[in-house]
Amino acid sequence: MAATLCAKLLPKQGWLPLSVSVRHGSKAVTRHKRPQHILKQKLLAVTEYIPPKRDAPPDAYPSKIKREEECTGLMLLIKEDLKKVFQDHKMIAVVQNNNSNAEDMLTLRHRLHKHSISVKFFPNQVMRLFLSDSVYSSMAPLFIGPTVLFVSKEPKVREMLSTLRASPHMTLLGACIDNTLLSVQGVVSYSKLPSMTVVQGELVSGLTMLTSHTVSVLQRHPGHLSALLQQYVKQQSAEDASEAKTESAT
């Protein structure tokens, strides 16, 4: 319509007028987006939405309010199980398993079962819950990552260490034996300790060493005893003489 009206006004072909009106030409509702007047375009550009400034993204810093985790029923049940485990078993070792298959786990369990050590799995979340309430709260830093518990009623440390040496993917982190926390070195030294009877025997022998020695000396020939005593006296006199010399020198 504009072209037909302005056909006579345009002196030559291809000459665009200086000002273009967009208030007519097409209807208000078109299938294409109508060309907007430059002033309207400017208005829309000026009145754009400016969002509120944020110093840091909302997830950059952790929230100050600590969200309390809801304890599900399942977690409470597992916690009860854990309590029983800690009550019944004397030795509780924490082991980290990296990349172990079902086959490896099976062989490990079989080897440990021979020494009546059982393997227990517990979720770390429940573990931390239980430990925070109980006496064993210092064990909490051990339970990070994929951990397994080796529990047994009798502390069979040597057999456990030998089995762990055989499986490369299991790493011992720590143990709680007879309510005492032990690190890896502590566990190794515990395993090197002699058994109870041996220790008792050593203690008894240590206590009775002097008396037994005297008895043995008396049991021998009295001449032997007299020779020993003479040598002792000589040594004593030699020591006294050396002491007197040093005193006179100073």
């Binding site: 208030r23 209807k27 208000a28 509702v29 078109t30 987006k33 109508r34 907007q36 007047h37 002033l39 309207k40 208005l43 829309l44 000026v46 009145t47 754009e48 939405y49 400016i50 969002p51 509120p52 400034k53 599900t72 977690m75 398993n97 990349n99 172990s100 298959n101 079902a102 086959e103 490896d104 786990m105 799995f121 517990f122 979720p123 770390n124 979340q125 429940v126 994929p146 397994v148």
Partner: protein, 258 residues
């Protein structure tokens, strides 16, 4: 003799063991034991959802049942601007919402009806129309006719749809994930841009727009300048722009405008 038997048994055992190991080999690498805390999601409760007797979309007529059909003016303003009617949920949970203006004709209705009726499970879902059957007559002149000679004859009927109107509503004992693919398939074929929304997502959408208006840091808004006729801008704005604060142009909605 005994040694031969023993050797044979040993070989058999060896074969069995290797076979078991091979089997175990393929299985053992699949299963890796771990103990994480699994939290179970509670499935949604559909006890108070009533399914109607006729769950499917009803057939809509091509032509309204009129004694005498009158020719109507074009009146394109029925496409312009936001929808005032049928822009909220009534019975269903999930709907197709129009994100622009346009006309729906009988072909669109049939496509929607057939696709949704075929793809939805009638035992657990129901669907309802939120638009009327075509009622607006569209005239066409014959092919090759010159201008003039009166208005053309009625060719077909359409339903005008504005931005924000619900087209089809779905409800029942289903979650959004089950219903969304069906509805997106239909929404893509409509003549205007459309989105699948649930009750919550529509609320969130409207809330987001309201929040944008609330926390806009720009002191200059289209509404303020147009209402006050600052810089004589009403010369290049229409009354429609005044109503809709520059968020619409013709049948299009401009997103991100406040």
């Amino acid at each position: 003799m005994v040694s031969v038997v023993k050797a044979a048994v040993g070989r058999l055992m060896g074969v069995c063991r290797t076979h078991c190991l091979q089997k175990g080999f393929s299985h053992s690498h699949l299963k890796i034991l771990s103990a994480g805390m699994k939290t179970y999601e509670i499935p949604p409760d559909y006890s108070n959802v009533v399914l109607p007797a006729k769950p499917k979309l009803k057939f809509l007529n091509k032509v309204p049942n009129l004694k005498k059909a009158k020719k109507e003016m074009k009146k394109l303003r029925d496409i312009q601007g936001p929808a005032k009617a049928a822009n909220t949920f009534t019975v269903g949970q999930y709907a197709i919402v129009a994100m622009g203006g346009g006309y729906l004709h009988w072909g669109h209705f049939e496509m929607m009806r057939l696709t949704i009726n075929r793809k939805m499970d009638a035992r657990t879902t129901f669907a309802r129309w939120r638009v009327n059957a075509p009622y607006k007559p569209i005239t066409r002149k014959g092919l090759g006719q010159r201008m003039g000679g009166g208005k053309g004859a009625i060719d077909h009927y359409v339903t005008p749809v504005r931005y924000g109107r619900l087209i089809v509503e779905l409800g029942g004992k289903v979650e959004l994930g089950e219903v969304e693919p069906v509805l997106t398939e239909v929404a893509k074929k409509l003549p205007f841009p459309a989105k699948v929304m649930s009750r919550e997502s529509l609320e969130a959408f409207q809330k987001a727009q309201a929040d944008m208006e609330q926390n806009n840091q720009n002191p200059w808004t289209f509404k303020r300048i147009a209402l006050g006729n600052m810089l004589g801008i009403r010369r290049v704005l229409s009354p429609f722009d005044l109503h809709n604060h520059g968020r619409f142009t013709g049948k299009f909605h401009i997103p991100g405008r406040v």
